[in-house]
């Protein structure tokens, strides 16, 4: 796989990043005077980027094109060029980001209409899009890292958009910090590459990775994985993602469902050449994926906050993707396909949730919903389609992509394969359960609204994107797997797919999955649908439920393992620094002063004592001299 210099329109691929960045700059620097048209500009830049991206993609036909921009930093043997790599993989992401991004921008026009800080909101959104595009377009790891932390910043700003709310501010900080933990892994991986290969460019690294010792490659792979876990909310760094729902709902849709959180998957797919060299690291990726998808699914079953449910669902869906890419060549495409479809239906679901909250005065507790189907038809339908797509209802997008992953898992053929496949299927059942529960609690049953709440359908500027995404959720799977196979499109990146001989016939898998899914739906109906939903969450519940509600105690663990000891350590060190280090110095000064005044006492003022001291001195001097000469 070799890169050619870019040509034609693609030479201006940098505009993809520049446009939204310029938008952000204008909106931030322009201040109040851009308030009136700020949102339009913000949306415009992303739409423009989408169009450009589309055109570039059409010109691409399977090449890997490099856009050299300028020297970022070059000293000694380190040479970091600011350059873009436009290849099928990045093209896919460009389209996802700008496409879904554009829709969500449009949606936000309506959603944030009443917020006086809407302009800044769009600025941040643009900033995010720019950073995300840099992340997927950069042609070296440093560029990736810059985009990587750039999206982190944007996410921080957007989660904390309503920073008057302490919860929002805290959630934003938590997200940033936990991402930083991952970033350390990514950074160390880069250092290791430079130390071993003397380069940080994709081509250089991927070209030479074969020459490295196995241990080193594994180390690099694991460090990269750490970074991926941080960004994608995977175990053990998953705890920040649900809290991130403190941000405005469009943010949750764009950043914490469709695009940013899937960066980890992108990273691993992009680094396929590295992971191909190290089965160990791949195994860890698999484990992480499997664990996370269970955690997410279990936690999702017990949440009452509609956005939290979707958040945990995201966590578990990304778990699927990790599982896929962890499977190696057979899984990359499946994972990416799921990533794309997930991008559609999860974004749609979030937008739907947003529309519901919009109607319910930003109420998020599903126990306060109910019977909204009649009041909000468009939302209900679009949301419903997204729901079906997510649980993998036959022939909707989720069905295709999820099955592909599960098949790939089984295709490993060994015991692990069956285990992973089983887990995946089980999770599919759980997914069906919690999503159905969500549907029932939200749209069906008797209204349990707060007094004074008058649900109403959202304006068309909001519903239009929902409709489009719903369409996407329905068709995407079919299109990407059957009509225009993503596999073919990505061949230049991942090479020819070897025809996998299936250990379990795909049909069997599909049926199995569908049955389990049906079971999930059924149980949900039995538990939630049949009886009245209590307005306040029941207190006396099984340990399992309690654990699920608290997301298997992830936060508790983090607190007791890191936060508390950290705070204690800090307090201790402050004491040490003041009393110990500084105290030593001041102590020395005090000692000098004390000895000074004590010595001063010898200056009694009596002539005779002075004379005595002189005589003593004389004797000492004489003695000393004699000693010297004698000895």
């Amino acid at each position: 796989m070799d890169t050619a210099p870019a040509d034609g329109l693609i030479t201006s691929a940098w505009l993809l990043i520049a446009l939204p960045l310029a938008g952000a700059a204008v909106l931030l620097l322009g201040g109040r005077r851009t308030d009136r048209w700020g949102h339009l500009l913000g949306t415009g830049t992303v739409v423009a980027a989408f169009v450009l991206g589309l055109l570039c993609t059409l010109q691409l036909d399977g090449r890997r094109l490099d856009v050299e921009l300028f020297t970022f930093m070059a000293t000694g043997s380190l040479d970091v060029q600011a350059g873009l790599l436009f290849d099928p993989l990045s093209a896919v992401f460009v389209l996802l980001i700008t496409g879904v991004g554009a829709l969500i921008h449009v949606y936000s026009i309506g959603y944030m209409a009443h917020d006086p800080r809407r302009r800044r909101f769009f600025a941040y959104l643009n900033l995010f899009v720019a950073a995300m595009l840099l992340l997927v377009l950069g042609d070296n790891f440093v560029a990736l890292y810059v985009g990587w932390e750039g999206v982190g910043l944007a996410s921080y700003l957007l989660i904390a958009f309503w920073h008057e709310r302490p919860s929002a501010a805290t959630a934003a900080k938590k997200a940033f910090i936990m991402n930083r933990v991952g970033d350390v892994g990514l950074a160390l991986a880069i250092f290791l590459m430079f130390a071993q290969l003397g380069t940080v460019a994709y081509d250089g690294v991927f070209g030479a990775v074969g020459t490295l010792a196995g241990g080193t490659v594994t180390a690099i792979g694991l460090l990269l994985l750490l970074g991926a876990c941080g960004k994608s909310g995977q175990f053990p760094l998953q705890a920040w993602l649900p809290d991130a729902m403190e941000g405005p709902t469009p943010v949750s849709a764009l950043i914490h469902a469709a695009t940013m959180v899937t960066a980890g998957v992108y990273l691993i797919a992009r680094c396929a050449p590295i992971y191909d060299e190290t089965p160990t690291a791949r195994a860890v990726v698999l484990a992480v994926g499997a664990i996370t998808l269970m955690i997410g699914a279990i936690a999702g079953c017990a949440q009452d906050d509609i956005k939290k449910v979707l958040a945990y669902s995201t966590v578990s869906q990304i778990g699927y993707m990790f599982l896929a890419v962890g499977l190696g060549p057979v899984g990359y495409v499946a994972g990416l396909a799921h990533l794309l479809t997930h991008g559609f239906f999860k974004a749609g679901l979030f937008l739907g949730a947003g529309s519901v909250m919009h109607a319910m005065n930003d109420e998020v507790d599903m126990r306060r919903f109910g019977g909204l189907a009649s009041r909000m038809k468009v939302t209900f339908v679009t949301f419903g389609l997204g729901y079906l797509a997510l649980i993998g209802f036959p022939f909707l997008s989720g069905f295709y992509t999820k099955d592909a992953i599960i098949e790939a898992a089984f295709d490993r053929g060994d015991g692990w394969g069956y285990l992973l496949g089983g887990v995946a299927i089980l999770a599919a059942g759980l997914t069906a359960f919690y999503m159905t529960r969500l549907m029932l609690m939200t749209f069906f049953g008797r209204p349990r609204w707060e007094p004074g709440v008058h649900p109403h359908e959202s304006p068309s500027v909001m519903t239009a994107p929902m409709v489009l995404l719903a369409v996407g959720s329905v068709l995407a799977g079919f299109l990407l797997v059957v009509a225009f196979p993503l596999e073919a499109w990505l061949t230049p990146v991942f090479g020819e797919p070897e025809a996998a001989e299936h250990v379990v016939a795909p049909l069997v898998v599909s049926i199995l999955v569908t049955v389990v899914m049906a079971l999930g739906v059924l149980t949900a109906w039995l538990f939630v649908g049949r009886r009245e939903v209590p307005v306040t969450a029941p207190v006396r519940v099984s340990a399992v439920t309690r654990a699920a509600r608290r997301a298997l105690y992830a936060d508790a663990v983090n607190e007791s393992l890191f936060m508390r000891p950290g705070q204690w350590l800090t307090r201790a060190l402050v004491f040490v620094d003041n009393r110990g280090v500084d105290g030593a110095v001041n102590g020395l000064a005090a000692t000098l002063g004390g000895s000074s005044s004590r010595l001063g006492r010898t200056q009694t003022g009596f002539v005779r004592s002075y004379a005595l001291s002189m005589l003593g001195g004389a004797v000492v001097v004489a003695g000393a001299l004699l000693a010297v000469t004698a000895g």
Partner: protein, 543 residues
Amino acid sequence: MNTFPWLLTMIAVPAVGAAVVAALPRGRDESAKRAALGVSLLVLLLAVLATVAFDAGGERFQLTTSVSWIPDFGVDFALGVDGIALVMLLLIGVLVPVVVLASWRDEPTGHRSMKTFFAWLLLLESLMVGVFAATDVFLFYVFFEAMLVPMYFLIGSFGGPRRQYAAVKFFLYSLVGGLVMLAAVIGLYVVSANELGEGTFAFDALRQVEIDPGVQKLLFLGFFVAFAIKAPLVPFHTWLPDSGAEAPIGGAVLLVGVLDKVGTFGFLRYCLPLFPDASRDLAPYVLTLAVAGILYAALLAMGQSDLKRWVSYTSIAHFGFIALGIFAFTTEAGTGAVLYMVNHGIATGLLFLVVGMLIARGGSRQIGDYGGVAAQAPLLAGAFLVACLAALALPGTNSFVSEFLVLVGSFPTRPVFTVLATVGIILAALYALLVYQRTMHGPPRGVLLEPSPETSAPTAGAGGGATATTLEAPAAAPARLRVRDLSRRELAVAAPMVALIIALGVYPQPLIDLIEPAVAATMSDVGADPAGVSPQAPVEGTD
């Protein structure tokens, strides 16, 4: 063009300016300010022109001036800059006008006239230029010590409540270090006299002297202690939080931004080239101090309740990174370290300035006395955020470039230390964002809160807060902040710094090109490959 004595002029201009300002009649503060601003801008212009006259590819020291000063001591008044010194001069040139502007409307403690303040400031600038431009060790020492006096008066006369304690502490710490260094300076002279027959202080001549390793260690330590106190490295750091907290904002900026850089500059300019063997032997210990400092100071920063002390501790952590970069002995890390000196000067400068603006509004240094400022002073909050992001070295800000270079350059030779240091970037995120959240986010609270809660129509800044709080926040406090957002003058202070932070974060290469040759030369002095750690460099994991 190179015949023009740039450096001499850059020393003379502010010195004369100081004299003029000091000579102004009492109460003429306005004119004093204008004069100070003019002079400092002139110096900036000179610095830029000097940079133009400087040929990055040329020989090591350029723009040199040298006249015999004290022949009996073999001392010359020799000036000259390499890339490292030059960028520091640029930093001085940038910071001083900003500081002057920032101190424009300060109401100093007591009834002291601002003109004295600006006179000291300009004198300080002159001496700072001198300390970086000196190529004669004796001359360097003279500037090194003389620099204390203006800073001592800036802290002592215009500082906070505990200024006397802080000033004396600052002076004594530096003096002790300086005196130990004096011993080493003299020793160096004597050694050179024995080696060359004729004693000398000229840097270039001294670099040729072969010094016996044992003696090297002693002399190295002499210099090292002085620089480690200045820089400051843990455990020589406790003076900085006091000075940083008590100094007037302008003084604090120059103290942390430039003065302390003399320490790290000294490592690079004097410790490494003059005592290469000792540097190599003692590097592990220095690196231990450096990394310990990164983690220790970061944790301490989290524990601070005083804004200015907080900034000081973050700086101590950053100095750890600089020291790491210097003593890793690779061109990449060294370049990164020098770049770090500049970037830290700008970033922490902005941090101090913004904190100063906040304190000017609230009249309190306690973090706990502020809250929810962002709601009403978005510009202030924005500037603060940029400063915090630069402090945690976010990509896109200048500090990222330098921190990345330091770490990526240190990793091949010193993996263990580098990994530990890298953990420090998590702590950096913590201490920066913790304080940002406490002061800027959350519901309005603290000293800026109006005693009488009034329910006027929310201004644009607070409106979002209004909707959000009424909708989500439990029992939105009726009491409102009333914070002036940045004034035009304050904008003029913050804007250039923010611009520099981003510009140098996106396109640092020009500075790197200035710095690299000098660093490479230094590294070859300590026997490292000036071409940098070549790929597949044998990784000595034995540190």
